[in-house]
């Protein structure tokens, strides 16, 4: 059953716009994420997904509009701000150091006791975190280079959890993964939701979106083009929203689209 939030959204975008010169990358975009909710953002290339992620992670600042986090309006003027608020972002390239092991990567930049590293506590906390995520990583003392793509994604997500965020943004977490690893990451996303996080996930795969997301927000040419309940919408409808509803000539099941996929 889709999780229904009782507390309202933890993170909201209200009419956010962003222009790059003459190009309007985002125009009046709204987005709500509640705790225990996975929101998938889908859209064609150039729809503004990356810009949205960059605004939330503090890389870009919106030109107009506001960001409400935890009930109050905030300005995110840099990655550090986003971190401090509790918005963690896992970019597509993961940004891991392949020559360092899992513990070293997890605690990179925020080592415990920097003058004389507390390796024991760091290793212990790494295990705790990975166990909570049911991560299938055999040893935390092997270099990240020897891990599979799914395991690396897990490490990157685990690292973003160390700051105890309220919202986690995953930028195409399954883009470079095989079937089994994709399943592993999708499972992990469900665990993140179970932990009470709000999850924003960028994805291109309709299957994944419908498998794991609660809500699907469609962007088209920098504007909102519909927010759907994932359980009640068909892939075709999402695709129609992505490419522009009028572009798709027919919808055989349109009148009954809620019945295609009943609640489980």
């Amino acid at each position: 059953m889709t999780a229904v939030s009782t507390t309202g959204p933890v993170l909201s975008l209200r009419g956010v716009s962003k222009n790059f010169g003459a190009v309007a990358a985002l125009t009046g975009v709204h987005l709500d994420v509640a705790p225990r909710q996975v929101v998938a953002i889908v859209g064609d290339n150039g729809a503004g997904k990356s810009t949205l992620v960059k605004i939330l992670s503090g890389v870009h600042r919106p030109d107009t509009g506001s960001i409400v986090f935890g009930g109050r309006e905030v300005t995110i003027s840099g990655p550090a701000d986003a971190h401090a608020l509790g918005i963690a972002t896992v970019f597509q390239d993961l940004a891991l150091c392949e020559n360092l092991d899992v513990v070293e990567n997890l605690f990179l930049g925020r080592e415990l006791r920097r003058g004389r590293l507390d390796e024991v506590t760091m290793e212990l906390r790494s295990w705790e975190l990975l166990r909570q995520l049911s991560a299938k990583i055999p040893s935390v003392r092997i270099p990240v280079a020897s891990l599979s793509g799914g395991q690396r994604q897990t490490v990157a997500i685990a690292r973003s959890l160390l700051g105890d965020p309220a919202v986690i943004i995953l930028d195409e977490p399954t883009a470079a993964l095989g079937v089994a690893q994709t399943a592993e990451v999708l499972h992990l996303i469900e665990r993140l939701r179970d932990r009470g996080l709000g999850v924003i996930m960028i994805s291109h795969s309709m299957e994944e979106v419908r498998a794991v997301a609660d809500e699907v927000a469609v962007l088209r040419l920098g504007r909102n083009n519909g927010v759907f309940k994932a359980a009640e919408v068909s892939s075709q409808d999402i695709i129609a929203a992505i490419v522009g509803a009028d572009a798709l000539p027919h919808h055989p099941h349109r009148p009954h689209r809620g019945e295609n996929r009943g609640d489980e």
Partner: protein, 417 residues
Amino acid sequence: MSERPLAEPAAPLDLLDERLRRGAGLRSALTGILERIRSGDLGALPIIVGLLVIWTVFQALNPVFLSSTNLVNLLMESVSVGVIALGVVCVLLVGQIDLSVGSVSGLSAALTAVTFVEAGWPLPAAMAAAIGAGAAIGWIYAQMVTRLGVPSFVATLAGLLSFLGVQLWLLGDTGAVNLPYDSDLVHFAQLAFVPAWLSYVLVVLAAGWLFATGYTLARKRRAAGLSARSTRLLVVRSAGLLAALGFAVWYLNRARGIGWMFVCFVGLVLALNYALTRTGWGRSVFAVGGNAEAARRAGINVRRIYTGAFVLCSSLAALGGMLAAARLAAANQASGAGDVNLNAIAAAVIGGTSLFGGRGSAFAALLGILVIQSISSGLTLLDLDSSFRFIVTGLVLALAVALDSAARRSRASHGRA
């Protein structure tokens, strides 16, 4: 933590995964080492084997080579370039290079000599000036690399020429300044040896320290429910170190013994090793060398790490140049010239520091310079001139890098990176 199965109390937390094949005892430690070597994670093994081969060959060619007297000299001669190599390790670890360490060491030698002898400064002031100049040079390189985006290869190549020029200008028309034999610096580099009893005390301290740190760590890990080295393994390891160092010291003490200068070099190596492996700074250095963008996103001030590495490298080069001048009791136009530059870089690489950043250790400088100095000393004893030395050192360097590349491929295929 709550998911930890309490029914199986024997398995440490980090060895629960059934895919892992290893334990914590003496036996599994040995098989672990063998397995690591087979997969291409060679560690210091090739250098130690190489050193044994070199020593055997030269000893067969000239029985003087392994005599106590020659080895004492060999260690003393290796210090100055070894200190420079230590700095090179730092820049290589962050994925940069400094080609000017030879020139900077020569400039430092000239600066020390000119300020101390000709300007009559007190020795500490002269030394501080030389090392300060080195640090300033490193800072300039770092600014050129981080702010202007000049490749370190080019920035330091420019430095190589410029600082050679400054060195020649400083030395003036005579081209050489002698350091007085009765000065502390020359005494330190030529005549200061550790008393025999103290050298044994140092050996015992080293072995005891190795055991103590290993034991404390093992106890902490066990208390936390993680796997740890068995006490037996720790004892064997410390006893091995005690025996090896004890024998070496005994053998060297049959001649003049161990120079204080060499002891200080080893101290520097240990200090850098601690900083690289046990502090947040060291972790940042490896991270920047491995993936600078990832390090930046993790909140590491990448520019500061680069600056630190360059400053450390040039400062150590300056210190090495000063020690070379002290050893020679003179600074001249040949100080830091010729093969000093390439020997220092070769030592770091032969010792196992990757040219691509993020891989290596402080001990690379120590082991690498021992290889290079052994070759140099052996060929000198055979009365072969520098042409042969260049050829052989070059071949060893090529061999070391080839071996490293082969091992890297093997590591990659065995999932060890």
